[in-house]
Symmetry: C2
Subunit: 392 residues, 2 copies
């Protein structure tokens, strides 16, 4: 959890589920004044994103007017703007632009401001997350429908908007990676690289909660011993079977042998790969015969190169996983999983990954917002960038 | 089926299951005179293989004396001699050599010459294949135990020794590839490269027998149109849903699009890859979302290079398959599968791949035998090399 310093941040901690509706900027005609980042062409975010002001009509029929509480900047959002992501947003003139545009952002937490007369199941003050990807979450307000939103349960009420806004991609990915490919039993091992990423930290903690042991690989960097200590603790410590080592250490055959010996001499049946290139292959060396490697990212931007002999004679299985597709195909399972994850968050068993907040106020300009996105593109300081919205 | 020309070949066609025991070269003491290719060091077959003469004691207790009828030269045999294969033969002095040696060859058909007093289930004249890999089949005679041998059913009696000797690797591989990874229903598609290989031809024919449609890729070569026609026919023809094209044609996006349209616009859920490198990736382009690519060979000797996006966003799964491991782990299933395959052979539904025979007579010298192995190393004319043994 990030240290909370400002009144805004303190407010964010307790605004979910409290039923307190903040003041609203509405005109005399009932229109909500809203802003959104939009793009009309694919390209680098800093080149193509513009901050657009518009107004939102009062909620009518089955519409729900929401204000955003928090919206993270995920790598997939960036790739979608660049046009290199397989699911592309539809460009429309919905927000009153001359040129068709799209609003980026797939993940976010919102608070209901007002509802149309035929809406059931939602009331002003409710906090919700997006039920599907591609809603467009980098905006202050939006008109939604109840089918777009998944209400956050009021009890436990200590889920913060930051936590709600960041649950759909990273923790959900980690959950499915550990559940859907190999039926791991308590006491069994998995291995992963990018262990300090949002997904990596969630996997480490689910491992601890479910009694799994894990070998966690991080890139060598300054101060890596401190990071290793932190991650080991997230996994329950060395005595619980949490090993953390650097990619350099994994590349050393002697060190790797020690690690495999630690894993009862056999290696793991499940590996989680978000790096690719050599790092993916090195991870395979920690897999047992018949093991499965699941790739869910490619931080190195290098392809996996597989010697056929590794695949054939070690009887390995390689899978890709994309949480967006899974979520769209399994809405009911997703809801049950989210409830379970919220319970872990509420009980303190699942902790947030480090985040860097950019406050989006009424007068925040496009430059400041684009700077946050640029920090995310650069992987600035290894922290997840997130917008939190202040409704003064 | 190869054209049969010599008396030997005609004899081979009908010697299985007939109970006719050929004359035996035994000394006055009852010892069988035998020859075997042996090696004492890993290396190139032409450098390390020697022809060794020895005698075999009369079968005693649970022993069975067998003569070999046919033994193919498979790529795995070559790799085992080179020392680059994961399962390595044990070197012993069993055949009376001063320096420990091993006999290469994993596949073969034998005929029982005599049995020890405690042997049950086998009688002189029975034809059998090896129950396990690494028996050492490049030899004229051997002492076996009943646990080493799997008897070929006498009915149907028209299984030739050539067919019996070559069933364990190629048809069994093709059978498992089509059965174990994706539950294909009649009318569904699979795709494969190296379609003119032994495994490829068997897969094409199983596809026809089981009502599957297939896209088959072969390397461009002189006379490829004739090969395409031949393979299309093995698969039941274009109207049965058998498409054959060259790797060059597959590399052409327009042609590929046509092929995918032919496959109801979706691609296949199963791909069989024995080439690797670019050919493996091109094959992936014919797979549907969620599809499985199984790699069982690496003819190109180039690794598979996987863009992570293909794996993640197309939700692909990659597997390795090694028939030796499968066979050693599933002895009962293997026996049932062999019975089924023998029925297909007997009914004429499953035809042999083209083979080039090297006759191994009593006076054949090591040079002639090594030449056959060299032809196999070079992939001479695309035909499988096989030893057939003449017991004059």
């Amino acid at each position: 959890m990030i240290p909370l310093r400002t009144p805004l941040q303190r407010a964010l901690l307790c605004s979910a589920g409290t039923g307190i509706v903040p003041r609203r900027h509405i005109t005399v005609f009932g229109y909500t004044q809203a802003k959104a980042l939009i793009f009309s062409d694919h390209g680098q975010p800093k080149d193509v994103l513009k901050l657009h002001s518009h107004s939102i009509s009062p909620a009518y029929g089955d519409e729900i007017t929401v204000r955003f509480l928090a919206a993270p900047i995920n790598p997939a959002d960036i790739n979608q703007i660049e046009g290199v992501y397989p699911s592309k947003p539809a460009f429309t003139t919905a927000l009153g632009t001359l040129i068709p545009h799209a609003v980026p952002g797939n993940e976010g937490a919102v608070q209901v401001l007002s509802i149309g007369s035929s809406v059931t199941g939602f009331a002003p003050g409710d906090v919700a997350i997006m039920r599907h990807t591609a809603f467009g979450t980098w905006r202050t307000h939006a008109t939604a429908r109840s089918s777009d939103l998944l209400k956050i349960p009021k009890s436990p009420s200590i889920i913060t908007p930051l936590q709600a806004a960041t649950v759909s991609v990273n923790p959900c990915t980690a959950y499915r990676l550990l559940k859907d490919f190999v039926p791991l039993q308590p006491g069994e091992w998995f291995v992963q690289n990018a262990a300090n990423s949002g997904v990596g930290r969630a996997a480490l903690q689910f491992g601890r909660i479910w009694g799994l042991k894990s070998v966690n690989v991080v890139r060598h960097r300054e101060g890596v011993e401190e990071l290793k200590r932190e991650l080991r603790e997230l996994g329950g410590g060395g005595e619980a079977g949490t090993v953390v080592l650097t990619d350099q250490e994994l590349g050393d055959p002697e060190r790797r042998k020690e690690v495999v010996e630690r894993m009862d001499g056999k290696g793991a049946m499940l590996g989680l790969n978000s790096v690719g290139g050599k790092a993916g292959i090195d991870l395979c060396k920690l897999l047992d015969t018949g093991g499965h490697l699941v790739t869910y990212g490619a931080m190195s931007k290098k392809p996996l190169t597989l010697g056929a002999s590794l695949l054939i004679f070690k009887d390995l299985h390689f899978h890709g996983f994309w949480v967006s597709r899974w979520s769209d195909r399994h809405p009911a399972e997703r809801e049950a999983m989210l409830e379970e994850i919220f319970r872990y968050i509420a009980s303190g068993e699942l902790k947030d990954a480090p985040m860097e907040i950019t406050v989006w106020k009424r007068d925040t300009n496009g430059e400041e917002l684009r700077a946050a996105i640029e920090r995310s593109v650069q992987g600035f300081g290894g922290k997840k960038q997130i917008f939190v919205f202040e409704d003064e």
